[in-house]
Amino acid sequence: MQLIWEGTVKAFELVFGGNAEVWQITGLSLKISGIATLVSLLLGIPLGIALAMTRFPGRALAVASINTGMGLPPVVVGLFASIFLWRSGALGFLELIYTPTAMIIAQVIIAFPIIAGLTMASFQSLNPNLGLQLLGIGASKPQLLWLLCKEARLPLLAAVMAGFGGVISEVGASMMVGGNVRGQTRVLTTATVLETGKGNFDIAIALSLILLALSFALNFVLTHIQQREQLRWPKLS
């Protein structure tokens, strides 16, 4: 218990004592996972909508793949991404291994199925007649999609939170494709592993607390937006 207290004190020291490295690590974590989430949204939302609203041969296979992908273990992603990105690998000529870009790629592979899967689920929960109605009152195809997205925005926000939460907290893939290089690819999770290995448990706890606080702050904002829009249930008693 003593240790957790020391770690908490250390966290305040590091954050408010102007420790440049901790700020840099925190910023990089946010950047990498933020971009990975954005890219995953751009890929995952259209795919999720397509899977929810169309029928084609092989759809069941695609849906099952996406659902499996929602639980991809980050170390497995890290291993395969590394094998491709190493200089000796098929994509080695890109020289991406041990760069933030490599970490973003790995995190997109982790987050994109989560977002696609949750998008699909949220669109499937809409009433299909809604689409017909909107077309009936003269909505164009793009307008229809936009309106349906607005209708499904609450579960979509949940998808964003799940995707971001998944990648900001993963360590396996970031460690393997990023290499935990100081000042270049060291993020909160990999730094925590390193400091634990060094026996600097107070710093490790401090980094964990920063990660938790960040995650909480972001989810708080998104939850606030989500819940503000929620229709109020009448009193049922």
Binding site: K31, R87, Y98, Q184, G197, I225
Partner: protein, 282 residues
């Protein structure tokens, strides 16, 4: 409110993408150094790498893994220079022509630590091999790294020299780094083999005392090797050589010699550039 949210999101996206572009414009001369966890965990590289970068303008990516993996990475051309501590393994790679120009950099030593009550009675023993034999005979718990690291390789070599194939419930393989393994040994009140640097670094948390030290077979010798350009297409040969030269330069060797005195009251490594293996540790 909605407009504010939208503006905020757009600003965030622009900032994020801009910062990635900025990352893309790193310095040209990147070197990948594959090394062991002990050089990183002891903090030595945090001192040496910035010094090297300042002197030469190269940017170093330090990948710290077990010695086994560090050597494989280099042999496949996925690194430019290697700093590891497993002489017998290293010599194999040099003999195969995968790694070139092996030069000694520094050494420290391994120690055997264990429970205070010392069930295997090894405290009075000078020889590491005799100590291991009596640990095996009493079936006292022993934690092995089990990860093909430099430390694990030395441990395996010692068991072999002692004529023992360690097996059974008393022999615990952690499969983790030195820090984690020390933690496990401490919790299980078991014996283990550790490098002195990591042990000192974790002194606050690990209460097991040193029981065997000073045997010549427990020397931990670090060497630097360059990667054969034939191993792959992207190897930064000049950069790798520059780092290897840096590690054995007189100025760096002085830094190595004084490293750790401030934090631990004793230096963690002894510089040995230019010496031969036989001359060390007498």
């Amino acid at each position: 409110m909605r407009k504010i949210t939208l503006t905020f999101v757009i600003a965030l996206m622009v900032y994020l993408f801009a910062s990635v572009v900025a990352h893309g414009a790193e310095s040209k001369g990147n070197i990948i150094l594959s090394t062991t966890t002990s050089t990183q965990d002891s903090g030595l590289l945090d001192v040496l790498v910035p010094l090297f970068e300042k002197q030469t303008g190269y940017s170093v990516k330090t990948i710290s893994v077990g010695t086994g993996q560090a050597l494989v990475l280099a042999a496949r051309g996925d690194a430019d220079v290697v700093l590891v501590h497993a002489p017998s393994l290293e010599k194999k790679y040099v003999a195969e022509g995968k790694l070139l120009n092996r030069r000694l950099v520094m050494y420290n030593d391994f120690v055997i630590i264990g429970p205070k009550d010392d069930p295997a009675k090894i405290k009075s023993v000078k020889s590491a091999l005799a100590a291991l034999k009596s640990i095996e005979q009493t079936k006292a718990r022993f934690v092995s790294r089990g990860d093909n690291s430099g430390t694990h390789n030395l441990e395996k070599a010692l068991w072999q020299q002692a004529g023992i194939q360690p097996k059974g419930a008393w022999y615990i393989e952690s499969g983790q780094g030195m820090g984690a393994t020390l933690g496990i040994a401490n919790e299980k009140n078991a014996y283990t083999l550790t490098d002195r640097g990591t042990y000192l670094a974790l002194r606050q948390r690990v209460t097991l005392p040193i029981l065997v030290q000073g045997d010549k077979v427990l020397l931990n010798i670090y060497s630097v090797m360059e990667v054969n350009p034939a191993n792959g297409p992207k190897i930064n040969v000049a950069g790798g050589k520059a780092f290897a030269d840096f590690m054995v330069s007189p100025q760096t060797q002085t830094v190595i010699k004084s490293f750790g005195t401030e934090k631990f009251g004793q230096s963690l490594f002894v510089p040995i550039a230019g010496k031969r293996e036989e001359e060390i540790g007498g």
